[in-house]
């Protein structure tokens, strides 16, 4: 569209910011400069991604802002990036959350600030690059490179059991993704192409599709995560620093859902239909089981972590019912969950910074001392529950409408999970916010400061905006999703 390589600029601007930070010597005085460089770089990236959204053409189902260069001379691998309606909001979600994360770490990260900011900027490049890749090998490189900064973020700045959590996170997800590597190599072996664009459709015989599908499933099911592959998630979330949890829940989990839509549905439609009952069973178990587990938690972060697994169960149901309502619902649910759960982790971070505990029983009656906090927390809590008017409602509602066309049993499972989510979230809110202050230590607690307001209020506005005008977000993704659905129906003879 323009001569400026806008997309590559968006992907690599954080790295440029990181190089600037590398040049700053870390001492008492320059720490603030490091933070500022990191923050303004990420703001710049956010503005660039908004420019992409502004110029985005919703009537075009294919990739836009494409850039393509030869990468390997002996293989058909390209540096090929592009944005379509499916990846657009994933990119914006990443660029939106990163500056908020850097802002949220302004005061509570006290050691090795330089490395911390470097890790976050590297992470941002990798996340955007992954969603923007059109070449599968490029996608894989970014997909796995995510592990490096996240491993360091959990391991260096995490809580008490950080080493255990960081190793579990790294090895668990690596195990899934190396199997995907084998599938990618096999795809290249069969077709001689690595372009997501060329491989859309039904290119493989069914028996091969099944193996490829399982390999991709191993990777994405760990990433999203589905029950029973979710056990790394609570550990990683609890031990990670607040901003790490936000990125983990906000963006990294979405990589799984994105992969399911792009690869499993887009390239392996017959196998996707073959395995959809399995996905439904696992998802329904995830929704109900993890909701019950969440109900029993005493650690706020752990509760939100389990609720993420349940919400992702709704997403996988929406993806594998494969109709426009289901898929659009799944996409909106992913965006909404990215914002809401990120915001919930930030809310936990606010009180953790003040009291240094995440024990639910420690708190109670916060509304008396922190009225603004109680209000924004309520918005996010309701967004998580899926109250009409918030972002959560749109996604869950569409998924349930879509699931009705698949099977009413699945609807019963999904709907009961939504009811349970109301139970554990409201119960959490009651225990932390309402009542009288019984713990003496809480009498001095302060309400949100300016920095925290700047972080949380935009998030709250977005939650409500998606709830009221969901069409802004659904419109660009409609055509690419329709394309995937029609491919799927063609392949399965519907």
């Amino acid at each position: 569209m323009t001569d400026i390589p806008l997309l590559s600029l968006t992907i690599f601007l954080p790295i440029i910011g990181a190089l600037v930070i590398l040049l700053i010597k870390e001492d008492e005085k320059s720490v603030n400069n490091i933070k500022k460089v990191a923050f303004w770089t990420s703001i710049g990236v956010f503005i660039l991604s908004l420019l992409i959204w502004l110029q985005f053409d919703s009537s075009n189902p294919g990739y836009q802002f494409e850039e393509k260069f030869r990468w390997f001379n002996d293989f058909n691998f390209y540096y090929h990036v592009g944005i379509d309606g499916i990846s657009l909001f994933m990119v914006i979600l990443s660029t939106f959350l990163t500056p908020l994360c850097i802002l949220a770490s302004w005061e509570n990260i006290k050691k090795r600030i330089k490395e911390y900011m470097l890790a976050f900027l590297f992470l941002e490049t990798v996340m955007i690059g992954m969603f923007a890749s059109v070449d599968i090998l490029l996608f894989y490189v970014f997909f796995e490179a995510v592990l490096i900064p996240m491993y360091l973020i959990i391991g260096i700045w995490g809580g008490e059991k950080r080493i255990y959590a960081s190793f579990k996170f790294f090895l668990y997800t690596l195990l899934g993704s190396v199997l995907m590597l084998i599938a990618i190599v096999a795809i290249y072996r069969f077709t001689g192409s690595m372009s997501i664009l060329e491989l859309q459709g039904n290119n493989f015989p069914k028996n091969i599709q099944i193996y490829l599908w399982l390999a991709f499933f191993a990777s994405f099911a760990v990433k999203i995560p589905m029950w029973p592959f979710h056990t790394w998630l609570p550990d990683a979330h609890v031990e990670a620093p607040t901003a790490g949890s936000v990125i983990l829940a906000g963006v990294l989990l979405k990589m799984g859902g994105y992969g399911f839509i792009r690869f499993s549905l887009g390239m392996l439609p017959e196998a996707s239909q073959y395995f959809s009952p399995l996905i439904m069973i696992l998802s329904v178990i995830a929704v109900i089981y993890t909701s019950l587990v969440a109900l029993a938690q005493t650690d706020i972060k752990k509760l939100i972590a389990y609720s993420s697994v349940a919400h992702m169960g709704i997403v996988t149901i929406g993806i594998f019912v494969v109709n426009s309502q289901g898929l659009e619902g799944a996409m909106v649910q992913m965006i909404s969950h990215g914002i809401v759960s990120g915001a919930l982790f930030l809310c936990v971070g606010v009180i953790y910074d003040r009291m240094h505990t995440r024990d639910i029983n420690f708190y109670g009656g916060l509304v008396n001392k922190m009225p603004i906090y109680a209000t924004v927390f309520m918005i996010f809590m309701l967004g998580s529950v899926g109250l009409p008017g918030t972002s959560g409602f749109v996604g869950e509602f569409l998924v349930i409408v879509g699931a009705f066309q698949y099977s009413s049993l699945v609807v019963i499972g999904a709907a009961s999970g939504i009811v349970l989510s109301a139970v554990y979230m409201l119960y959490l809110y009651k225990r932390i916010i309402f009542g009288l202050i019984e713990n003496e230590k809480l009498t001095e607690i302060l309400d949100l400061n300016l920095r925290e307001k700047i972080i949380l209020i935009p998030l709250a506005l977005v939650v409500i905006m998606i709830g009221i005008f969901p069409n802004i977000f659904i419109e660009p993704m409609r055509l690419p999703l329709e394309l995937i659905i029609s491919n799927y129906e063609l392949a399965n003879g519907k």
């Binding site: 001379n73 260096i156 960081s166 190793f167 090895l171 590597l181 190599v185």
Partner: protein, 479 residues
């Protein structure tokens, strides 16, 4: 015909042997300690020889009744060997002087050993192969035990010698069986005899297996790896660096040529053996390294694991397999030189760092150094975007192309296990605090620093222009 002599001298091996003998003579007759000069001389000789190999004046030569092959494959591996040997001399020079084992015999013997390795890579005859292997091993037995007053060093030398002699015996027995059943010692003769056979006679199978066992010992593939950790740990670190870097490359080239040239037709027979060696090496390398406390032992097991991956490419028995193995060995060399150049220069309270736990808290005091070590470890574990990932990728591509799905899946599973111990080193540097306040001391001379810088650049930015290497490799073939 008049410039025959000059042409003869310009054969890399001939020139190297002349240089090695001059190095020996100079060391013997010099009155003062000539370690410094001989090391520089040896380094320059190796660089000169690698230039000779690259320029290749000898294409039309057929020495000693076809004992000797000169192809793009052998050239590539010989350049790797000589450059690797030169680099290992440069990075270990300061360590030798520091630990007072600065004897001129070391560079001289390493030159002879490199000569043996180059002959090994090129050998086209069983006799030649045996002599070359012995030349490189005998030199290495001596340097392993060069630190005479240290029990560990002596032990490692003896262990290496006894097991090496045993493996040579097995190798010779295999040769005699092959000779007995084919009537030839040259690769070409064996190949012609075998091409008339429909199946291998039992005696030849025995001969083949014995030779493979002997070669597996040289590349330290499981279950013939027992010497590796002990020798790596016992020998002075600078010698360990040489062991880890160079002989592996040469022996790998030899096992590829031995399997694919004379026995190329009967790949079904030997791939079964190599399949087992490969899987066992990958998994034992990965699992045994987990429990190690010593950095050198850990690197020993890591090198065993890497050998397992290269053998996947051998099982593939295809052109792509040869190319993938060449790429992988190049990366193996680069990563190992880089890691050893760091270990050989890193001191903590006046002692060289040898235990993993001594790395605790390194990132606080030496952020750039620990970032480099982190990148090397991630690269060795095969995590993108670093170079090692592409090596693994090529290996798995070769495996998938030859329909070795099981082997590929086992390979990636082993790579997940091995990621654990590479991550553990990062954990020690970044997540753990140093127990005491003693400072790290990173002393590295300028040439070694330059090498480290170049290698780190290659490891980190290989992704930007991979074709630089893959274009070279795509021209490689055994013929």
């Amino acid at each position: 015909m008049e410039n025959n002599l000059i042409n003869f001298i310009l054969v890399p091996e001939v020139s190297l042997s002349i240089l090695a003998i001059s190095c020996l003579m100079y060391g013997l007759f010099s009155k003062t300690n000539s370690f410094n000069k001989t090391t520089n001389f040896a380094t320059l000789s190796l660089l000169f020889v690698s230039a000779l190999i690259y320029l290749d004046f000898t294409t039309s030569f057929a020495f000693f009744d076809n004992f000797f092959s000169n192809t793009t494959f052998t050239k590539f591996f010989k350049i790797l060997t000589s450059l690797g040997a030169a680099a290992s001399l440069i990075i270990s020079k300061k360590y030798f002087i520091d630990t007072k084992i600065n004897r001129f015999e070391i560079p001289t013997l390493l030159l002879f050993s490199s000569l043996g390795m180059m002959l090994m890579i090129s050998s086209k005859n069983l006799m030649m192969m045996y002599l070359a292997i012995e030349l490189q091993s005998l030199s290495l037995y001596v340097v392993a035990s060069i630190k005479r007053n240290s029990i560990e060093s002596a032990e490692s030398g003896v262990k290496y010698f006894v097991l090496g002699a045993l493996s040579s015996g097995i190798l010779l027995y295999g040769f005699s069986l092959i000779y007995g059943f084919t009537g030839h010692t040259s690769f070409d003769g064996i190949f012609i005899t075998l091409s008339n056979l429909n199946e291998l006679p039992i005696g030849l199978i025995f001969g083949l297996v014995f030779v493979l066992v002997g070669l597996a010992f040289k590349i330290s593939a499981v279950p013939f790896h027992m010497w590796t950790p002990d020798v790596y740990e016992g020998a002075p670190t600078s010698i360990t660096a040489f062991f880890a870097i160079v002989p592996k490359v040469a022996a790998t080239a030899l096992i590829f040529r031995f399997c694919l040239e004379p026995f190329g037709k009967f790949y079904f027979e030997w791939t079964q053996v190599i399949f087992f060696l490969s899987v066992a090496s990958m998994f034992l390398g990965a699992i045994a390294a987990i429990a190690q406390k010593s950095l050198k032992r850990l690197l020993a097991y890591s090198s065993i694991g890497h050998v397992g991956y290269v053998l996947i490419a051998l099982v593939a028995a295809s052109d792509q397999g040869i190319k993938s193995a060449s790429i992988y060995m190049f990366m193996y060399l680069v990563m190992n030189i880089a890691v050893f150049s760091i270990i050989l220069s890193l001191k903590k309270s006046d002692e060289y760092v040898e235990k993993i736990i001594q790395l605790n808290g390194l990132s606080k005091t030496n952020p750039i150094l620990s970032a480099s070590l982190t990148i090397i470890m991630l690269s060795m574990a095969g995590i993108p975007p670093f170079m090692g990932f592409f090596g693994k990728f090529y290996i798995f591509f070769a495996a998938i192309e030859s329909k070795l799905y099981l082997l590929a899946v086992l390979g990636v599973l082993a790579s997940v296990v091995s990621a654990f111990y590479y991550l553990r080193i990062i954990k020690n540097m970044y997540f753990d605090e140093a127990a005491d306040n003693e400072n790290f001391d990173f002393h590295i001379n300028n040439q070694a620093k330059l090498i480290l810088f170049i290698l780190m650049f290659i490891i980190s930015f290989f992704i930007l222009y991979p074709s630089l290497l893959t274009d070279i490799v795509s021209g490689i073939s055994l013929n």
